[in-house]
């Protein structure tokens, strides 16, 4: 696997508090050699965690299963909360965007209507002026 991908995977496995945006931004400024070095370090940490988990599992399988189950439950709850937060945020944005669109459509409609009305009025005015003038002049002859 490409080392950059490996590093991203390790960040995810270790659940480090780095957002994907931060990963992308910072990864761009790294040379291949630096990435390789980081992978080595991250793998050392992962290896220790794996050994730790295995030690606990060997020492007390029941307790280990409980810890894992609690961890899964906590993560699931956290994911759900996160999903809810994002949805609420998206909802707020959607309302704002819908409102902006609605206002824009209304404004465009008003402008078109006003233009139609004013042109019609001016057309009528033209016709009236011309007919007033011509009829007044014709009458006088």
């Amino acid at each position: 696997m490409d080392n950059r991908k490996k590093l991203i995977q390790l960040i995810e496995e270790l659940k480090l508090p780095i957002t994907p945006e931060e990963v992308t931004e910072n990864l761009e400024g790294l040379s291949d050699e630096e990435v390789t070095k980081l992978v080595e370090i991250y793998e050392t940490v992962k290896k220790y965690q794996d050994e730790l988990a295995q030690t606990a599992k060997d020492a007390d399988p029941k307790k280990y299963a409980e810890i894992e189950a609690k961890y899964e439950r906590d993560l699931a709850k956290l994911d759900e909360d996160y999903s809810m937060d994002l949805e609420a945020l998206q909802e707020k944005k959607d309302h704002e965007m819908d409102l902006i669109e609605e206002q824009t459509r209304r404004r465009l409609g008003d402008l078109l209507y006003k233009q139609q009305v004013e042109y019609t009025e001016l057309d009528d005015e033209h016709k009236k002026i011309y007919s007033t003038l011509t009829s007044a002049l014709t009458k006088s002859q």
């Binding site: 270790l14 659940k15 780095i18 957002t19 910072n26 990864l27 400024g29 790294l30 630096e34 070095k37 980081l38 370090i41 991250y42 940490v45 290896k47 220790y48 050994e51 730790l52 295995q54 030690t55 060997d58 020492a59 007390d60 280990y64 810890i67 961890y71 899964e72 906590d74 956290l78 759900e80 996160y82 999903s83 937060d85 994002l86 949805e87 945020l89 998206q90 909802e91 944005k93 959607d94 965007m97 824009t104 459509r105 404004r107 465009l108 402008l111 078109l112 233009q115 042109y119 001016l122 005015e125 033209h126 009236k128 002026i129 011309y130 007033t132 003038l133 007044a136 006088s140 002859q141």
Partner: protein, 861 residues
């Protein structure tokens, strides 16, 4: 047969009929040569393509097809024999063969050489193919394939080289197998969809009637009118219907093929497209998992072993409900993506519903695999649940289309639709649009089409995004579509304003002509001065709104001069009339300016507001995401600490158990100890390696590149947290056993005694009433305090409403001054304790970990 070497000149002189024949022959030979030469390259390309693809998409041929072989040999022969032809008839035959040859291979078929009815069909199918420039990509591609197959069938039919039945059945054999596997007891597969352009619902159904496979699309409703149908018999016999009725197809866009056995390749193509589209829906990842991997029947059998029927039923019901939730959410999303008016709210709701249902489903599947003991399949399940890699496309602007004819067809077809829309709007919009020159009309249509293509691409992308199940991506594309739809409306508004302005220009021009004529008559003294003045005054009095100040200023001195009896006022009157004209023109210009400027300003405002909204959303989203990642890390650290505690505590406890084992079963003690020692060694080694990660080389790299330092610091902080000593184990003892030495952290943890809680402070904490106590330890990581351990004892007493915080040594004895704070409630006390920990540690030069979470100490009973 005449001698091929006969001198043409001799014949020419010999007899007029011979001269004609020779000329005809020469012409024909020339045609043959030209045909061979002109088609050489394209024919070669067609052959190469045909061999590569097996031209299965064009009627089930493969590279060994007799037609392909025949093509090659005929072409070779034609080249050799073109010069040896002695009779015009032979040349004609060869030419006909060549034409048929090129038609068969899909090369250069000549539509004009087809009979009228076939020519008409080719043209109609071409219009049908292009009928939905803004429909879904799948629909457009499918129609393209059908059109290609149909043209191929027609030219093959003319050359009497229809696709053989055996080729049809063999090209569809894999599809038949897939269908057989999926069709089930009901004997059919059916799905309901919506036309991406008209919104009309239709059913796609695949069934088997005896030996005949039938794939069809029919409208939803009592009549169930068939739109397309492909029947394939066991021997490869075919029957095709392509009959698209309705307003959109009135303009020669309906192929009108009804139960025809003529188009074998097309029938196979239609059958394959319909079947694959239904099968694709049937084999969504989850569904495949449910059927092939989890296998409900097997699961039930496995669960029987547990003797928990009620539990099984409950579990399965829950699973089915989640499954239904996910599938329904996906269905709703696809409906939303296909609808004319996408709703942000609807898309968002269903996208998040899908995400949560998918997640729960996945959890249940994992649990299921746990129950039935199929851990090995978990990885497969995770892989199956990974987001599929999808590609998102950007719309190509019309002027980047490579095929000029296609571009022209697209513009023309949209122009017709646009004129229809303008006609429906009433007024004189359509008429004014029609009066614009062609270039101007095209410019408007191209601008409109570009936005519509963005909307269509957005819809394709939304359909792809749904496959990922990621609500953020789904909502992003729904938003982009809505945005583009508004831009389309704004574009139409701009066109409307421009058309109204155009109309106004026309009517003003005509009015100006009459007005100028009148002015000329006045200036030439056509009317008596008195009547001109009174007529002018009447106009001014009755149409004050349009009379400008200039007119008033000119009029007043004029009236004075009239009173004085001046007769020479013709020029002044003309000037006034010109001012009236100007006033009216200005009024028009103001209105036009307000409308045109207003539309532009409104659109600019819209873009600015949307961009600001997007930016704000992105900022907040990043904050929410950051918080989520930090909390998730804290959860993980808590888990690592719990694992550390179990490892240290239980291993320590086992040491004592080993003493018992040694006494009772001497033989087993060594084996147990060996296992224990190995495990300890491995953990110890892993930890030692971890503690040595920050070499000089790494430190240099951190100093050189802040990006590198960013990642290094993240892991440094994480490593510090997972290697910090665990809270003191309750079961550990200091008695030595034959066991190996624990690691540094473990040794530290084992050494630590319970914090000494002074009797007067212990109060009723053991009973859990009125007191809150915590023991916290942290490792300093700043340069000054490198490696130092700080231990802090915290207590809140409900009775005195006081929080007490003090540092203690390794034996629990106070080492510094006490801090006392007032806290009315338990929750306030907790907040104070947590914030104090951070503040004080930071003040004292310690770098406090971001997720520093105090823990309760183990209490002795």
């Amino acid at each position: 047969m005449a001698d091929s070497t006969t001198d043409v000149g001799e014949r020419h002189q010999a007899a007029p009929e011979n001269k004609d024949k020779a000329e005809r022959l020469a012409v024909k030979k020339d045609e043959v040569r030209k045909s061979v030469r002109n088609n050489q390259d394209s024919e070669a390309n067609v052959l190469v393509d045909a061999f590569k693809s097996g031209i299965s998409s064009e009627g089930g041929l493969n590279s060994s097809s007799p037609i392909i072989r025949e093509t090659a040999s005929l072409h070779q022969e034609a080249r050799k024999s073109a010069d040896n032809i002695t009779e015009p008839g032979e040349a004609d035959k060869l030419l006909a063969d060549l034409r048929a040859l090129y038609k068969i291979t899909g090369g250069n078929y000549d539509i004009d050489s087809l009979p009228e009815d076939k020519k008409d069909l080719v043209q109609r199918v071409d219009v049908w193919k292009k009928e939905r420039p803004l429909g879904s990509l799948d629909e457009r591609n499918a129609r393209g394939l059908v059109q290609k197959a149909l043209v191929n069938d027609i030219v093959r039919g003319e050359a009497n080289a229809q696709v053989a039945g055996g080729d049809i059945t063999s090209s569809l054999s894999v599809t038949f197998q897939k269908l057989e596997a999926k069709i089930g007891d009901e004997g059919k597969l059916a799905i309901t969809r919506k036309d991406s352009v008209t919104g009309q619902e239709y059913i796609t159904e695949i069934r088997k009637d005896g030996d005949t496979w039938i794939a069809e699309e029919r409208k939803v409703g009592e009549n169930g009118e068939i739109i397309s149908q492909a029947k394939i018999g066991a021997s490869g016999s075919t029957e095709l219907t392509l009959n698209y009725t309705g307003r959109r197809y009135q303009r020669r866009a309906n192929p009108e093929i009804k139960a025809s056995s003529e188009y074998q390749g097309t029938t196979a193509t239609v059958f394959s497209l319909l079947s694959e589209s239904v099968l694709e829906e049937q084999t969504a990842d989850h569904l495949r998992w449910t059927k092939d991997v989890i296998n409900p029947d097997k699961l039930k059998r496995d669960l029987d072993g547990f003797g928990e029927r009620a539990g099984q039923e409950y579990f399965l019901k829950g699973y089915i409900v989640r499954k239904a939730e996910a599938e329904l959410a996906k269905e709703e999303l696809l409906k939303e993506a296909g609808s004319k008016n996408i709703s942000r709210a609807g898309t968002r709701r269903e996208a998040y519903k899908l995400q949560r249902a998918d997640k729960k489903l996945k959890e249940m599947e994992m649990t299921l695999l746990d129950i039935v003991g199929q851990d090995d399949k978990k990885e497969d399940l995770l892989k199956a649940g990974q987001k599929p890699e999808v590609e998102f496309a950007e719309a190509t602007p019309i002027d980047q289309m490579t095929n000029d004819q296609d571009r022209k067809d697209l513009i023309d077809s949209r122009k017709i639709e646009f004129k229809d829309e303008l006609e429906q709007k009433g007024g004189k919009f359509a008429e004014t649009f029609g009066s614009l020159d062609e270039t101007n009309q095209d410019a408007q249509i191209v601008a409109l089409l570009n936005i519509e293509r963005r909307i269509a691409a957005g819809k394709d992308n939304l359909a792809e995004a749904i496959k990922t199940g990621d609500p953020e991506i789904i909502c992003k594309f729904a938003g982009e579509i809505k945005h583009a739809e508004l831009e389309k409306d704004a574009m139409k508004a701009e066109i409307d304003v421009a058309l109204a302005e155009k109309r106004r220009e026309k009517s003003v021009d005509s009015w100006k002509t009459s007005w100028k004529n009148l002015v000329r008559q006045v200036s030439h003294g056509r009317f008596p001065v008195g009547s001109v003045i009174s007529a002018t005054k009447e106009v001014i009095a009755s149409h004050g709104r349009l009379i400008t100040e200039k007119v008033q200023q000119k009029l007043n001195p004029l009236i004075e001069r009239i009173k004085e009896g001046t007769q020479d006022i013709g020029e002044d009157i003309v000037e006034i009339m010109n001012y009236v004209d100007e006033g009216l023109t200005e009024a028009y210009q103001v209105t036009a300016g307000v409308a045109i400027g207003g539309v532009r300003e409104t659109v600019e405002n819209f873009h600015a507001k949307m961009a600001a909204g997007e930016a704000k959303f992105e900022r907040t989203k990043i904050e929410v995401r950051k918080k989520y990642y930090e909390t998730r890390h804290a959860v993980d650290i808590t888990k690592q600490e719990a694992l550390m505690k179990v490892g240290v505590e239980v291993l320590a406890a086992k040491k004592h158990a080993l003493i018992g084992i040694a006494k009772a079963m001497p033989g087993q003690e060594e084996e147990q100890k060996k296992k224990y020692r190995e495990r300890h060694e491995r953990l110890k080694e892993a930890k030692e390696r971890l503690l040595q990660w920050k070499t000089k080389e790494i430190q240099d790299k951190m100093a050189d590149n802040p990006r590198f330092a960013f990642f290094a610091e993240q892991i440094e902080e994480h490593a510090a947290q997972i290697t910090a000593e665990a809270p003191p184990p309750t079961t550990a003892r200091q008695e030595e056993s034959p066991a190996p030495q624990p690691s540094a952290a473990e040794a530290e943890a084992v050494k630590q005694p319970e914090p000494e809680i002074r009797p007067e402070e212990q109060g009723e904490s053991g009973k859990g009433t009125g007191r809150y106590e915590e023991y916290v330890s942290g490792t300093g990581t700043s340069l000054d305090n490198q490696g130092q351990i700080i231990r802090r004892y915290l207590r809140w007493d409900e009775k005195s409403k006081t929080v007490v915080i003090e540092d203690v040594d390794e034996h629990g004895k106070p080492t510094g001054p006490r801090v006392e704070m007032f806290a009315a409630t338990h929750d306030i006390a907790k907040v104070l304790i947590n914030s104090d920990i951070k503040d004080r540690l930071e003040r004292e030069g310690y770098e406090v970990n971001r997720n520093f979470v105090p823990k309760k100490p183990e209490k002795s009973e």
